[in-house]
Amino acid sequence: MKKSGAEILVECLKREGVRHIFGYPGGVVLNIFDILYDDKDIRLILTRHEQGAVHAADGYARASGKVGVVLVTSGPGATNTVTGIATASMDSVPIVVLSGQVPTMLIGNDAFQEADIVGITRPCTKHNYLVKDTADLARVVREAFYIASTGRPGPVLIDLPKDVTGGTADFTWPKQVKIRGYNPTYHGNRWMIKQAANEIARAKRPVIMAGGGVIISGASKELRELAEYTETPVAMTLMGLGGFPGTHRLSLGMLGMHGTYWANMAVQHADLIVGIGVRFDDRVTGRIASFAPNARIIHIDIDPTSIRKNVRVDVPVVGDVKLVLRDLLQFLKEIKGQWTAVRASWLKEIGKWKKERPLGYRFDKEIIKPEFVVEKIYELTKGDAIITTEVGQNQMWTAQYYKFDKPRRLLTSGGLGTMGYGFPAAIGAQIACPDKMVIDIAGDGSIQMNIQELATAVVNKLPIKVAILNNQYLGMVRQWQELFYRERYSYSHLDVVPDFVKVAEAYGAVGLRATRPEEVEPVLREGLRVKDRPVFMDFIVDWKEKVYPMVPAGGAIDEMLFEEEEKKPKRRLRAVK
């Protein structure tokens, strides 16, 4: 039976199980929007900016594990998706972006609202397509969802010329996807996994480094079993938070640039690092030459290119984390080690580091400390909310002071570090999980990067909470300038910060403000009670507060700066990159 391209597209989306699309209309996608107008199964959430749509789809995907879908028009609609696509690409988030394109006979003519979006997004998508024939549409959509969601997930873009969605073709749903150049490895090499088991059994001072791969693969249970069975402490990357319970006795919290002292010390003194679903990013390793100097390294990841990209690896295992960990546990159980006895002294040593330099800040009775706000949010939500963050100090304080016990509870732009991610991502998360509490922990700089999405949240009656840690500065930039650029605050003060309470109210949301520490809890309690619309909670915080501990860029991860040392004569700090 012949169908129009737009009908085929929508039918394919339904067969892929799509219920929500985040999008924005425009000239060349009207064929598709016209079909969606009558559709009962698919709901389109109209954002106020295409970037917001992509971050929303990304948040939807991270919170639910399903593929997020975006629909935008050609030209500026498509180019506005680039930041969101790059964000999803860096953090391995499965999204499919459908972009309109000018009719095929106009491509290359610099037509109105034409952009070579396939060319532009080539380096930041897992794969992308330009569909030139309506007859190819069903196959391409099927492949796109398959590629986005399998292996190491990532964004896929499909460019749809207007005549392709307007044309007709016979509709056949391809039963199978077969792409000869794409065969992800799921089962790890058994021999390598056995080597890994032997390494773990031999190690006296092992540390597990768990990353986003644990969450994507759904391997939290297996990771916990591995850690508990072998009495191995677990340090997490930013993307790995929640992959292992943050309150677990074996959790070391986050490692890296703003990681805990004891996590970094453990890594630096370890004789074995077990990297699981990580890519040894520079924010985690610090100066690579000094990273874990005495450790052998096991690296488990589904993406072969992650292995030996940044660090030397002794035992590489390419495969899906969950499946590899299952095999690994099987081998370990055959070994029957005296785990508890062997590890006791190592865990004790780590405990000493923890006592030596605990995570903390100086509470103040007069001025709100941003860490205090995050702690209160943790307390009041009992650690069970979905938290999104923006990028900068707000993100690091959240990672430090909110203890994530479950996966898919922290949605943050780890790889690309995209300001303006958190609020639209919260919209996506709330659509995916309508019964969950969704909170965006933001800064006054970041929130202004996608503040227009307030309208989207209000229209859809989404009770998203936005806690703005308002210090009138681009705080992390200011922190670096204070520490490494002789306190020359070049363009990091925001001068005019809008009245966020009035902004919220102008959009029809709730606006609240706390200016003193004793107001924090009442404001949070009031905000968290709102059920039918978004809430902005404006916390006027100490602008001088910095994120500690901190490893200066280019330093080894045990060369950390601490707040206590601020009072002492300044150490000479090198500014590196």
């Binding site: 396939v118 060319g119 080539r122 380096p123 897992k126 794969h127 330009l130 590629i147 792409i179 000869r180 150049g181 794409y182 993406d303 072969p304 290119t305 030996r308 990209k309």
Partner: protein, 165 residues
């Protein structure tokens, strides 16, 4: 270390851009690149000459494999193989040197494919060393311009079987 890598790809538009973009985006270098259709018209073969230490070459082959349109990557460093390149070289010798240029061409098993009142265009096929040697020799006679195809490579038959076993 220089490596010759052959990359079997889907014969689709945009594939060359994907491969070239991967090299430029990640700071790998391409010394030469040649592309052509294979026996199966849906598949093209690229021969890329690149250089880097072991870690970089490992990344290059892994990153190439990661591209959806790439079907197979072979690094000829590990494989006995034959390499060839062709050059078209236009030389403008003095009148008294014209015979010598022809003799040299013959020695290199080349052919004159075009000849003008003051120039010869010579075609030479061979491995890189041979081509470089010929270019060096011709410099003395006044090279006007030349064009090289870039290297192509193919595995030797006996060792292909050994690899498969």
């Amino acid at each position: 270390m220089r490596h010759t890598i052959s990359v079997l790809v889907e014969n689709r538009f945009g594939v060359l851009a994907r491969v070239a973009g991967l090299f430029s985006g990640r700071g790998f270098n391409i010394e030469s690149l040649s592309v052509g259709e294979t026996l199966d018209p849906q598949i093209s073969l690229m021969t890329i000459v690149t250089s880097g230490d072991d870690q970089i070459i490992e990344q290059i082959t892994k990153q190439l494999n990661k591209l959806i349109d790439v079907i197979k990557v072979v690094d000829f460093m590990e494989i006995e193989h034959v390499e060839r390149e062709m050059i078209l070289l236009k030389v403008a010798p003095k009148k008294e040197d014209r015979a010598e240029v022809l003799r040299l061409t013959e020695i290199f098993r080349g052919r004159v494919v075009d000849s003008g009142p003051t120039t010869y265009t010579v075609e030479i096929t061979g491995d890189e060393k041979k081509i470089n040697a010929f270019v060096e020799l011709m410099k003395a006679y006044g090279i006007k311009e030349f064009v090289r195809t870039g290297k192509v490579a193919i595995a030797r038959e006996g060792l292909k079987r050994k690899e498969g076993g």
